[in-house]
Amino acid sequence: MTTNRIPTAQPARRRSARRFNSAYLFIAPSLVLIAVFIAEPIVQSGWMSLHDWMVGESSHRFVGFANYTRLFHDSRFWNALRVTVVYTLVVSVGQVVLGLAIASRLRRTTWYSTLLRTAYFFPFIASLVVVGIIWKFLLDPQVGLVDAWLAAVGVSPPAWLQSTALALPTVMAVGIWKNVGFTMIVLLASMQQVPRDLYEAAALDGAGAWRQFRNVTLPALRPALLFTTVIATVNGLQLFDLVFSMTSGGPIFHTESVVMYLYQKGFVEFQMGYASAIAWVLFVIILGISAVQLRVLRYRDVD
């Protein structure tokens, strides 16, 4: 039996070895890019965060965890974190709930629903900076179209982006408008994969539209919901372009996100050590929240 097994096992091993070999060659270019542009900067930023690192200085003083201690006592960082978390919560939930509602309404394919799907998806393909600049112009209290229309119907328009109470909600609304199309398309594609016989069976059991949605559609959408929620959360936590172009973090830091603060410290004041510490804290937060989301939404069950 032993002698019979050897001749069959050897060629298989050789084939396996050859595949292993060529696999390395194929992934080498990607590995290089990942190593040079992702892995090395991550490691380097961790090292920089332990130093008093100013751009251009020939030597950098090792300070251990002093940057992290300073961050812990920095009220502006905590304000930026609060802004980021509030934005992420509201925009993620808004984006997913609204995307689900729109996808449900536009599930049937007609010329009208196709037109609306395109309209909802269109903002997603536009650059965030362009979206921010256009909305800033539209919402300008003196020369903006939105305020002009409101004034025309007798409504006194507020200063959307200049008011400390309204600036963040306004940016959040634009964030939801920008990304809801993406959520809608992903959920719509997933909805169309749900077998029709499940609905027929549910209908035969006496389930109405709401129960069909709750007990058939929603469970089938769980992988897509997980995907869109994680993507929306990670995007929200990395908020930068929109506030940079719409408010520059103002008024009085009311829309300053963590990445905006990181940009200010790293690329305006050149305090790269401190900015790297901010980046690492944000990295750990995103990692933690993503892990919790995957756990709560039972990633392995839906993968």
Binding site: S16, V32, G56, Q142, A159, I252, F267, V268
Partner: protein
């Protein structure tokens, strides 16, 4: 399998190393050189606005008159310059000459990182020397650190009062205001419309992403942000009094919208929704092309005498440039009488020299800005933490009081933060 693994890893590593080498070398940036006896210098600036052709005209004239030195000026937005320059100069890959920022305080970080050349060996009154004695004293002081001169002014500007003559005529005002009291009265009179939402504002004030306007309002009445000991003066009696007056004019009398960025303030004036704006010479062309019947006058005089804000952009030489002598020759020519006269004529900016007398008086717009030079003050001049004081403290402070915060308490908070940044121990 083990053998195959061992063989594959070095192959992959070799490919990775070659690719990394290619990527790294591709990042290099040859900035200057010489060929056929001609030295080529590169110069990076942030002059992307309508004034760019004026700088290019000056560079072209230098190139035409110095065939053995050819300067190529490239422009990128200030934010891009600010991001690229520190690393490129620190690694010797940057341009030979550059304007690192529109903020004169930016020179400190480049001096601290030993990225720029001191210019003192080239200073003098000779034809090919940098005549720093002719620079406005505040500019020379701002560019001198530790007794060494590190930059020359790439431009020199002051702020003046722009006003819309048609709006003034419609309000029955025949001349622009000359005193702070007149300015306040005119701003109130020119504010028209419902309380809280005027259809026309008396003046367009900006508080963020702008050339600073609020310090001028403080200086008019003897207030300031820092005193000569680098300690906060923002909560002095004069400052609090001036800021109380102006913040109430904005918050209660609505003479200006709240929370405008510089571009918003310009748009408001250009769209004929504000009657006045305090701004520099760069704004004139845009306002004229917007069809405004434009008047330009000196900033009105307050109880502390005539004062306005000076603005200058530093022009510096990279420490590791291969052609320091030629770069200094360029700076000497750039700041010479001939070049500054020419620049003033083509740009509408006042010359960056104090010894040109009435040579620019032919152009009424230029003469307004030039006449303000003797009493113009730089914002946070010579202060190494100027950008932090501005973005972290002063701008938020002004934004708070515009929205009705108590001036004295907000000023006291701002003073504590400023003193912490400057290291002032005074209580």
């Amino acid at each position: 399998m083990l053998f195959a693994h061992r063989r594959a890893v070095p192959v992959a590593a070799a490919i990775a190393a070659i690719a990394a080498l290619l990527l790294t070398t591709a990042c290099g940036n040859g900035s200057s050189g010489s060929s056929g006896g001609v030295v080529h210098l590169s110069m990076l600036t942030g002059f992307t606005g309508p004034d760019e052709p004026s700088y290019q005209t000056l560079v072209k004239e230098f190139n035409d008159t110095h065939p053995d030195i050819q300067v190529t000026m490239t422009v990128e937005p200030w934010a891009t310059v600010g991001q690229k320059l520190p690393a490129s100069w620190a690694t010797g890959q940057g341009p030979d000459l550059a304007t690192p920022s529109s903020d004169p305080g930016s020179i400190f970080s480049y001096i601290k990182t030993n990225s720029v050349l001191p210019l003192d060996p080239a200073v003098g009154s000779g034809a090919d020397q940098i005549d720093s004695a002719a620079f406005p004293p505040s500019v020379k002081a701002a560019f001198t650190v530790g007794g060494k001169l590190y930059a020359v002014p790439a431009n020199m500007a002051t702020l003046a009062l722009y006003y819309n003559k048609d709006m003034f005529a419609a309000a029955g005002i025949s001349t622009p205001p000359t005193t702070e009291d007149d300015l306040i009265a005119d701003a109130k009179k020119l504010t028209i419309g419902a309380a809280g939402k005027p259809s026309q504002y008396g003046i367009s004030l900006a508080d963020n992403n702008t050339i600073q306007m609020w310090p001028v309002l403080q200086w008019m009445s003897g207030g300031d942000i820092l005193d000569s000991n680098n300690c906060a003066a923002v909560n002095s009696a004069a400052s609090v009094s001036a800021l109380t007056t102006w913040s109430q004019l904005v918050a209660k009398d609505h003479i200006s919208p709240v929370g405008q960025a510089g571009a918003d303030a310009d748009t408001l004036f250009a769209s004929k929704k504000a009657a006045m704006e305090i701004n520099g010479p760069w704004a004139a062309a845009g306002f004229k092309s917007a069809g405004i019947n434009l008047g330009i006058a000196q900033v009105p005089v307050g109880s502390a005498g005539p004062v306005t804000l000076a603005s200058t952009v530093p022009l510096m030489i990279e420490r590791t440039t291969k052609h320091p002598a030629q770069a200094k020759t360029f700076l000497a020519w750039y700041t010479s009488k001939t070049a500054q006269e020419k620049f003033s004529q083509v740009s509408g900016f006042p010359p960056a020299r104090t010894d040109l007398g009435n040579s620019t008086a032919g152009d009424p717009a230029v003469s307004v800005f030039a006449q303000a030079l003797p009493h113009a003050k730089l914002y946070l001049a010579g202060q190494s933490v100027a950008s932090q004081i501005d973005s972290d403290v002063y701008v938020p402070f002004i934004q708070k009081i515009e929205r009705g915060a108590g001036v004295q308490s907000a000023a006291d908070d701002a003073a504590k933060q400023i003193n912490k940044l400057t290291g002032c121990k005074q209580n």
